[in-house]
């Protein structure tokens, strides 16, 4: 493959972080330790990771309810994220945000949004700040195929395009919005065709391929940094689990066979592992032991995060009454 070894392995590492982190949340769910349902990105790791690694740590990012993968791929530490899911004081949002509202400003993650589509203009605003302040940063905006039909998505794209802001609109088209097939809610097959309506480039890539995704987003990032404005990148991917883990939908709405086939044929983790082994990186071969070592490292990291989260105390009740406003510290 075209990527250098270091980058290729980092892609794998972050994909694994998402997968193993979320598998751990499944265990926590069954153990009754999760306070609420979680929306898993399992199956979508390649798209998310490919997109995030095409940005720098100080670039901005916003996302949605299916939120764990975004900050993980952007480089957030797992401890604070896991503690957040458990509603603990050590959570990245002090236990106040929870699964749908993760944010880690230290890696440019300005927040996920439980209101679908609602954080899209926030990313455009971050792009505006980068533009006005001349920092050279870009903003990466994750949204789903369902969110693409929200009005604010349209407004945001037009605004970013007309002002040529450094924004990458990244659509994780996983084929479904909860129980409804994307094509029943959206009047076009590929969201990327809408880019032409804003005079910006639009491209659809295989979201199960981290390299293809990385390359498409890297091109969009380069364009944005050159001051040429936003792009829309759509990654075709699939939601491997139920909309939210733990949700029981009354009527069956998607064929188990469809799900099984994606697991069997299109699981991004074995696919990428195989490819790394088969093709190697641009600067040399990759061997299985290295990959196994990475997996072991990530497994340990995730284990430590679960431990950290369990050990972290619950917030004090008064914590509920802090952070509504920023309050100027009175100098001593």
């Amino acid at each position: 493959m075209d990527l250098k070894r270091e980058l290729a392995l980092e892609l794998l590492r972050r994909m694994l972080r998402i997968r193993l982190f979320e598998e751990a949340t499944i265990d926590l769910f069954h153990a009754g330790e999760l306070p609420a349902m979680v929306h898993l990105s399992i199956g979508q790791e390649a798209a998310i990771t490919g997109a995030c690694l095409a940005t720098e740590t100080d670039d901005y990012m916003t996302g949605n309810h299916r939120s764990h993968g975004h900050p993980i791929a952007k480089g957030a530490g797992l401890d604070g994220l896991m503690a957040e899911l458990l509603g603990k004081a050590g959570g990245v949002c002090k236990g106040k945000g929870g699964s749908m509202h993760l944010a880690d400003f230290s890696v440019g993650s300005l927040g996920e949004s439980g209101i679908v589509g609602s954080a899209i203009p926030v990313a455009v605003g971050a792009g505006l700040a980068a533009d006005v302040l001349g920092t050279g940063r870009v903003a990466l905006c994750f949204f789903g195929d369902g969110a693409a039909n929200e009005g604010v998505c349209h407004e945001s794209m037009n605004l970013a395009a007309v002002w040529k802001l450094p924004v990458i609109f990244f659509c994780e088209n996983n084929g479904w919005a909860v129980s409804v097939r994307a094509t029943e809610l959206t009047s076009v097959e590929n969201i990327s065709v809408r880019a032409a309506g804003y005079g910006m480039p639009g491209v659809t890539v295989d979201g199960q391929d981290p390299v293809a995704t990385y390359e498409a987003v890297a091109a969009a990032v380069a364009r944005a940094r050159r001051g040429e404005g936003p792009s829309l990148v759509e990654a075709r991917t699939y939601r491997f689990h139920e909309h939210a883990y733990g949700l029981r939908v009354k009527n069956a709405y998607r064929d188990q066979a469809e799900v099984d086939e994606w697991w069997r044929e299109r699981d991004p983790l074995p696919l990428f592992r195989r490819r790394l082994l088969d093709e190697g990186a641009a600067d040399g071969p990759v061997d299985a032991a290295v990959l196994d070592a990475i997996e072991a490292e990530v497994r340990a990291e995730v284990g430590a995060a679960v431990e950290y989260a369990r050990q972290s105390p619950y917030p004090e009740p008064e914590e509920a009454y802090r952070d509504l406003y920023h309050v100027e510290e009175v100098p001593a």
Binding site: P35, A36, E84, G87, K88, G91, C93, G95, K96, G97, G98, S99, M100, H101, S113, G114, I115, V116, G117, S118, G146, A147, N149, E150, G151, V152, A177, V178, S179, V180, E184, L185, T186, L247, V249, K250, N251, A252, Y253, Y314, P315, P317, E319, A320, Y321, L324
Partner: protein
């Protein structure tokens, strides 16, 4: 044992109430249609069998486009349908606020009465369950500030059914807020007979009579009021619980009459405190019932705070039985 089972079987919960009301009214009137996100798969559990029974033209899954969905319903209503829109979670209404205010609420008035808008919007108040700030709003007071809407916030399944059926037959727009803390057993009540159970808007119920203090409860607040009343009865305090059931129109005569009797009032409202329904009730009481007030009207509301995620943080911000008991004691001078 048999009696108990029979009594149990005759209970009506929130989800069945919705299911029944919608099914009966769609059967009764072909112009009634049902639209919502994830309706056909019945994700929220109140639309079982609708697609089969009424067909795809009358049972529709909406895209994530809340503003257009609300405006769509307004337009469809003006052109002869009687839509029910299941917006699922009340927090999503903000996405459609302009459509509620500018089209749904204003069209009839602005156009000099030419428009009729028989349309019902249903949404859950999805708090108290770890959903955190983006799903847990209780925004009905904001809509009370908008003239032209009717607003129901029922406290039990039978009322929900009766009011929802009335709402569907009304030629005006109705917002139906469903307090999700009542989805389970707390929302059950004796199942009404037949398919003609209609409850008029603007008529409060008095689920418990008393003489010392009036507690007005809204939605899930009624439960806390009743629980507090039971506890307080043990101490010899006689609490009257009033459930307005609809906030617009509000049954002012019933509330004023109760307070005229008791001289004291506590309002239990799950909404945020500032500019809440409780604020309105308190303001109205002092304006119209000042002479009968022997103590301040106290509001037991949610604190003015967003909903935190952590189970260790969330519940304290809402009204509770304990807070109601404390407020009743205060208005009775039983404690400072």
């Amino acid at each position: 044992m048999t009696v108990t089972s029979a009594r149990r079987a005759a209970q009506l919960g929130f989800l069945q109430a919705i299911q029944q009301a919608q099914h009966e009214e769609m059967t009764r009137d072909e112009r009634v249609i049902l639209m919502g996100q994830d309706l056909r798969a019945n994700v929220f559990g109140a639309a079982q069998g609708f697609l089969d029974d009424f067909g795809p033209s009358r049972v529709r899954d909406l895209p994530l486009s809340e503003a257009a969905s609300v405006g769509l319903a307004a337009g469809a209503a003006m052109a002869g349908l009687r839509p029910i829109v299941d917006l699922t979670v009340a927090s999503f209404m903000f996405c459609a606020m302009d459509q509620f205010v500018s089209q749904v609420a204003k069209s009839r008035y602005m156009f000099g009465g030419q428009a009729r808008l028989p349309v019902v919007f249903r949404q859950a108040l999805y708090y108290h369950g770890g959903t955190a700030a983006h799903h847990a709003d209780r925004p009905y007071p904001m809509f009370m500030n908008v003239p032209g809407l009717k607003i129901m916030v029922p406290s039990n399944g039978p009322d929900l059914k009766g009011l929802l059926k009335t709402a569907i037959r009304d030629d005006n727009p109705v917002l139906c807020f469903e307090d999700a803390t009542l989805w389970g057993r707390h929302g059950r009540g004796p199942a009404p007979d037949g398919d003609d159970h209609l409850i008029p808007f603007g008529v409060a119920s008095v689920p418990r009579e008393g003489s010392d203090v009036t507690v007005v409860g809204i939605g899930g607040g009624v439960r806390h009021a009743l629980d507090a009343a039971a506890d307080l009865a043990a101490e010899g305090v006689s609490v009257e619980v009033v459930d307005p059931r609809t906030l617009v129109p509000m049954d002012w005569p019933a509330i004023l009459a109760s307070v005229a009797k008791t001289g004291r009032c506590v309002v239990v409202d799950p909404a945020n405190r500032t500019c809440s329904a409780a604020s309105e009730i308190a303001a109205h009481l002092v304006e119209e019932g000042f002479a009968s007030l022997r103590a301040p009207v106290l509001r037991v509301t949610s604190d003015d705070m967003h909903v935190p995620f952590s189970p260790k943080l969330e519940k304290q911000i809402y009204p509770s039985k304990e807070k109601v008991v404390a407020a009743v004691r205060r208005v009775l001078g039983m404690e400072k």
